[in-house]
Symmetry: C2
Subunit: 328 residues, 2 copies
């Protein structure tokens, strides 16, 4: 039997989930839910109903797992606890500081409804969190480092677009190669914000805008740019659209640690991602964890879970015996 998936929110992430479901023969897309007027939405899959989110309740018997594709700032804090009252859910809540609070809200709603809610699924939080956990559990004396990029930061791009005189912009977060190499050498150093990442900005200025002033304003922006070495390039709208329309991302989690009676041996565990499409990759992780949510529900598990709680085998469509034979 196929796992019936609902998509709740149809932006970049929702479309990524729709594409990922096609790559997993044990799943089918049951419905797409939108806040817009459903008649205005054209999805990529024939014959699948598009409904308003207010009609989700009518689909409780037709959906095994709902994948929530809203944003962490305003959508998920209310959507996930609400939706888990009716469905098993998976979300990509990524406001690190608010995860404990979100967990509690989803956990109590899910325990009451007897459903499973897996939160904060994606790559960071998500696969990177797993690697921070495995690394620190195995090399208990050591240090871990997370680097992001090279990739587009939506938040930083938005911040530039709010600067007066800016028409459009894309910002890339780039790990500093020397810092990566130093960490890989096992030196376990303390790195400042400036030492870990640089920020590269591609900016389209409005006609007649003062580019010197724009550049100075970007570079001095607190939190976003002031603590980093930032480069600003002014380009045309055509160049921006031609060369910077993708949403690549990636990064590194490195654990450096020591073993031995005299801590005489160094070890480096490195995990890295190079992603052509951040939302599609995140969507692929969500879909794998939707499978896990479904299996947990068959086990009669309820409550909130994170990637740290899920047995890895639950992500796979293969049986335990197949996995032991083929992958172990």
């Amino acid at each position: 039997m196929s796992i019936r998936i609902g998509i709740f929110g149809y932006g970049n992430l929702g479309r990524g989930v729709e594409a990922a479901i096609r790559q997993n023969p044990d799943m089918t897309l049951a419905a797409v839910f939108t806040r817009r007027d459903p008649s205005t939405l054209k999805i990529n899959t024939e014959g699948v109903p598009v409904l308003n989110i207010s009609d989700a309740e009518k689909m409780v018997n037709d959906i095994d797992v709902m994948i929530l594709c809203g944003g962490s700032a305003t959508d998920l804090p209310t959507q996930t606890p609400e939706t888990v009252k009716l469905f098993n859910v998976v979300d990509s809540f990524d406001t690190h500081a608010k995860i404990p609070e979100h967990f509690e809200a989803v956990d109590s709603a899910a325990k009451e409804s007897g459903k499973v809610g897996i939160i904060s699924v994606g790559w960071d939080p998500g696969l990177f969190s797993l690697n921070r956990l495995y690394g620190s559990a195995v090399l208990s004396e050591g240090k871990d480092y997370t680097f992001w990029g090279k990739g587009v930061s939506q938040g930083h791009s938005d911040a530039i677009r709010r600067v007066k005189g800016v028409l459009d912009a894309k910002q890339y977060t780039i790990p500093v190669e020397e810092a990566l190499d130093a960490v890989r050498s096992g030196s376990e150093l303390e790195l400042t914000t400036r030492q870990k990442h640089i920020r590269e900005c591609f900016v389209v200025a409005k006609d007649g805008a003062d580019t010197k002033k724009i550049e100075a304003e970007i570079k001095s922006m607190p939190n976003y740019f002031a603590d980093y070495d930032t480069t600003v390039h002014f380009i045309t709208k055509e160049e921006l659209d031609r060369d910077h329309s993708g949403i690549p991302h990636g990064g590194f989690v490195i654990r450096s640690g020591k073993t031995g009676f005299n801590k005489e041996h160094n070890h480096i565990i490195e995990y890295s991602l190079k992603l052509d499409s951040n939302p599609e990759f995140t969507a692929s992780v969500l879909v794998a964890y939707a499978r896990a949510a479904y299996k947990l529900s068959l086990d009669k598990v309820s409550g909130c879970k994170t990637v740290l709680d899920i047995p890895p085998a639950y992500l796979s469509a293969k049986s335990g015996a197949e996995l032991r034979k083929e992958l172990l």
Copy 2:
């Protein structure tokens, strides 16, 4: 309360476990078991009893998890199913082809005794298996690649030592850099054995031995060397002891896959290890999974498990709330 660990077998791996226990404040070493006369064995930890393996039964109330440090060829196939009748156990059984059979033997013994046995723990099988699983579950259309090295292969070093005229030898398995780069570029190619790894041998010949003949014999050895580009260096015993006494290892698991409605986006997930000491790192993984075995036993779980079955959080001494706050 501290988790009480027994070490069963005191070679390189057993000593690595002893060292790793010191790095984990929630654990104590309860006893070391040896096949030798215990009075002849000097361990590195004061005040811990050394017993003959035949006396293990007397310690059933003093040990929470027994870590089996024997070899996969002859020790573990019988030791693990036998020992799990009395203790929760963790082993590093690494004969990939025989894992299903070993699993069944341990599973039935463990279910009967009500204990947990976690098998095939280490880095391959182990952490590499986890990465093959996560990678293939997330990027369901793609290909994975495992490369080993640079590191010492004990089996290949032993094979060289059996060649007539050889006094001693060390063999390094080295991944081919061009193959790694090709895989990282997302080209999803089929690689032959020869294209993936080269083999470098450091050989001490006996006085008067025919080194040309030794070299030819090594390079043509079926299974071990014939399918590889192999380099043979003749060095002195002093050089071997000075420059090649370590047991480093490592390797790479790379998943290359595509997403998107038209499979237009490439993604690369890369996991790598650079280990100064293969046995100490493997021991550190065993110790983390001993913690998991202990937690599973508190949950009243019994039977055989592998790394693919264990919720990641079970490896950590931290609570779920701490992990969500600090690592997620």
